[in-house]
């Protein structure tokens, strides 16, 4: 009976069973996710309505500023509000999960110092909240397409791939910052700034066609979020929305490389998290 649970503790010795442990703790992953979702809007007046109001308000402001004031053009045949909202849907999913993951270890510091489980569970469970928000925003988008009489493209079958890519990218960036955040609290200050600036560096309010033929185009395309947002839009709005399928290669390779490097870094640091909290 006992032999199934025999373990050896030594410096750097938790490697062997790490992934098995992670799998054994999948119930905890589910429960932590559920906790984050159910406490999200406790003691708020509007509750879940916030998840609906926020994207609608952001979209309205962006339509007013970029389309009405700055006269930014969308791709031909695509209504500007729909372009913004589709970009916003996937960008917010990325930025929310990225922010949550980055702070996940510190937020759960009471657990880190009192109980053992694979620390990777904390960043993983913090994805849930962002995903629920994503589903809500996506629902709003679908309602908007009916309003604008815009048919949903058959490309939508590829949508899960892009959601998965977003997930991988946010985990890749997030894990690195989560581990770094334990050591340097500067990260907590940096992240809101990164997210704010990031939104202008990716094609949310404008179309990637604007970057075509410029000197910075090749650097611009290195950003995995560019390919993801363009691809996401292409899935929903069809060929009218600009998407360069070539960018998919670099997007996939870059996001996987980032994830693997971050994972290695996170795994290297996680056993000493408690000493820095």
């Amino acid at each position: 009976m006992a032999s199934q649970h025999s373990i050896t503790i030594k410096a750097g010795g938790s490697e062997k069973d790490y992934w098995k442990d992670l799998w054994l703790n999948r119930q905890l992953l589910w429960i932590l996710s559920k906790r984050d979702i159910s406490v999200r809007y406790k003691q708020t007046l509007l509750g879940v309505a916030w998840s609906v109001l926020r994207p609608i308000m952001t979209m309205t402001v962006m339509v007013f500023v970029f389309s009405y004031l700055a006269k930014v053009k969308s791709d031909p045949g695509v209504p500007y509000p729909l372009m913004v909202l589709s970009g916003l849907t996937i960008w917010t999913f990325f930025s929310n999960t990225f922010t949550q993951i980055s702070s996940s270890i510190l937020i759960n510091s009471n657990l880190v110092s009192k109980v053992y489980f694979p620390r990777l569970l904390m960043p993983l469970s913090s994805i849930a909240v962002g995903f629920v928000d994503f589903l809500i925003t996506f629902g709003i988008f679908l309602i908007m397409t009916i309003f604008f009489r815009q048919p949903i493209s058959w490309h939508i079958v590829f949508l899960p791939c892009f959601i998965l890519l977003t997930f991988i990218t946010s985990l890749g960036f997030g894990l690195f910052f989560a581990a770094l955040n334990v050591r340097f609290r500067d990260i907590g200050q940096l992240i809101p700034f990164l997210v704010q600036v990031g939104m202008y560096a990716v094609p949310v309010a404008y179309s990637s066609t604007l970057a075509q033929g410029t000197w910075f185009e090749k650097y611009y395309n290195l950003n995995p979020l560019v390919g993801i947002i363009d691809g996401f839009r292409w899935c929903l709005l069809g060929d009218k929305a600009y998407f360069n399928p070539q960018s998919l290669y670099s997007t996939t390779i870059i996001s996987f490389v980032i994830l693997i490097l971050s994972l290695i870094y996170f795994r290297k640091k996680e056993n000493t998290f408690v000493d820095h909290i």
């Binding site: 006992a2 410096a11 906790r35 009471n110």
Partner: protein
């Protein structure tokens, strides 16, 4: 059959004297690197501010199945570090431990409780965090609720619980873990006597069913009641192990006896921090000059002096009195007052005819805004009270921690007249 075998366990921490508290900011690291660069150029290295600290050093032991091990030692002796390593919260710097069996550790009551969630939700959350499967939790759900006595409040958020209910629920969940090895750290310090008894009973059940228990506590009475073997740690080393009665006697004899006064004349090396520094702790009996014999009749004055370094700080003192075996007798606090920079002094008087004979330990906290503990001096003072009896013919040990003189009298209320 040994279930835990530890070989050469050591744990090193690096203490950075430059840093005040918390994690370093990027700026600290950058300035440090720049400083390093320049000091190397000048050829002197006054950068020896980092100090190694060995929380544990070369610890070896083996624990058999069914053993109930008590772990004793002073604060900072390495007890908690050992438990953290055994619970896999942190890794040892050197050495290895082999553990055979499912291990559960209870380093805190109600780990991960979320204040906004209800009691019911928190049972599942906390259970999962402690490593229980959902089916196990469901199975023992009724028993947990019953043990904690919170039936009526199951659907109330735990932030509305009293602290007693909170602790009871936390312990109840942990008590139903059913691990093969249970590690418990000082959780009995919280909760009322009734509940402590229940917990001790539950821990005894655990050990009697052939499971292994490791128990850290300052409460030697509890350790003696519960554990058959004990480890005695000092300065990170396991210096003695064996039968509990033997270890506890040994521990008590080694503990420095009687500290009736402590003082620091130089503010720079006085204990404390950048907000307060301790100047003097002192006790003196009111009637007697002889400090070595304080008897039960004597009122005792406790005097505490400290430097306040923050202008306009709202401070109060909070004093705990413990028996020598670690049971808290009482806690008293002063009113909070606003002080300017300078010396602050507090006096507390314990009346005569109040404490029983025995050894007592005083700890003193300096509290800011009646909520933040600025500094806590544990074992600030240690003193003995001696017995004094008159008009009695019985000389056994008087039971109880205190021996108050109360208005308690007898008189004849009826005379039966015999014809």
């Amino acid at each position: 059959m040994p279930v835990i075998v530890a070989e050469n366990i050591s744990k090193k921490y690096i203490i950075d004297h430059q840093r005040k508290s918390g994690a370093p900011s990027l700026r600290d690291i950058v300035t440090e690197k720049v400083d390093k660069l320049f000091s190397r150029k000048q050829g002197n290295s006054d950068f020896a501010e980092k100090e190694e600290f060995w929380a544990l050093r070369d610890v070896n032991f083996s624990i058999d199945q069914g053993d109930r091990i008590g772990i004793v030692g002073h604060n900072g002796a390495g007890k908690s570090t050992l438990l953290k390593i055994l619970s896999r919260i942190t890794e040892p710097t050197t050495g290895q431990i082999k553990i055979d069996g499912r291990i559960a550790s209870l380093l805190e009551v109600g780990t991960g409780f979320h204040p906004e969630l209800t009691g019911r939700e928190n049972i599942f959350l906390n259970g999962a965090i402690l490593g229980m499967a959902k089916s196990e939790i469901r199975q023992s759900f009724d028993a947990i609720v019953d043990f904690a006595g919170v039936e009526k409040f199951l659907d109330t958020p735990v932030k509305r619980y009293s602290s007693g209910m909170y602790v009871r629920l936390g312990f109840a969940i942990a008590a139903h873990l059913n691990p093969e090895i249970l590690i418990v750290d000082e959780v009995l310090a919280v909760g009322d006597t009734e509940f402590q008894k229940k917990c001790l009973g539950k821990m005894r059940d655990v050990s009697e069913s052939g499971r292994t228990l490791l128990f850290v506590s300052h409460n030697l009475t509890a350790i003696q009641a519960l554990c058959n073997k004990s480890f005695y740690f000092e300065k990170g080393m396991l210096i003695d192990q064996g039968e509990t009665t033997h270890i506890v006697t040994n521990y008590l004899s080694k503990v420095s006896h009687k500290t009736l006064e402590k003082h620091w004349d130089n503010i720079d090396n006085a204990p404390g921090n950048d907000q307060v520094r301790v100047k003097r702790f002192k006790l003196f009996p009111e009637y007697q000059d002889d400090l070595n014999h304080i008897d039960v009749r004597t009122p005792i004055n406790f005097q505490f002096e400290f430097w306040n370094l923050v202008e306009g700080a709202s401070l109060n003192l909070s004093m705990h009195l413990y028996t020598f075996t670690g049971e808290c007798i009482f806690n008293v606090g002063t009113q909070a007052e606003t002080f300017s920079k300078g010396l602050v002094s507090g006096v507390c008087e314990i009346p005569g005819h109040f404490l029983n004979d025995g050894s007592y330990v005083v700890s003193m906290m300096i509290v800011k805004d009646t909520s933040t503990v600025l500094y806590n001096m544990e074992e600030a003072l240690i003193f003995d009270i001696e017995d004094y009896r008159e008009n009695v013919t019985w000389y056994g040990k008087w039971p109880g921690y205190i021996r108050p003189q109360l208005n308690f009298s007898i008189r004849q209320t009826e005379h039966v007249v015999n014809d």
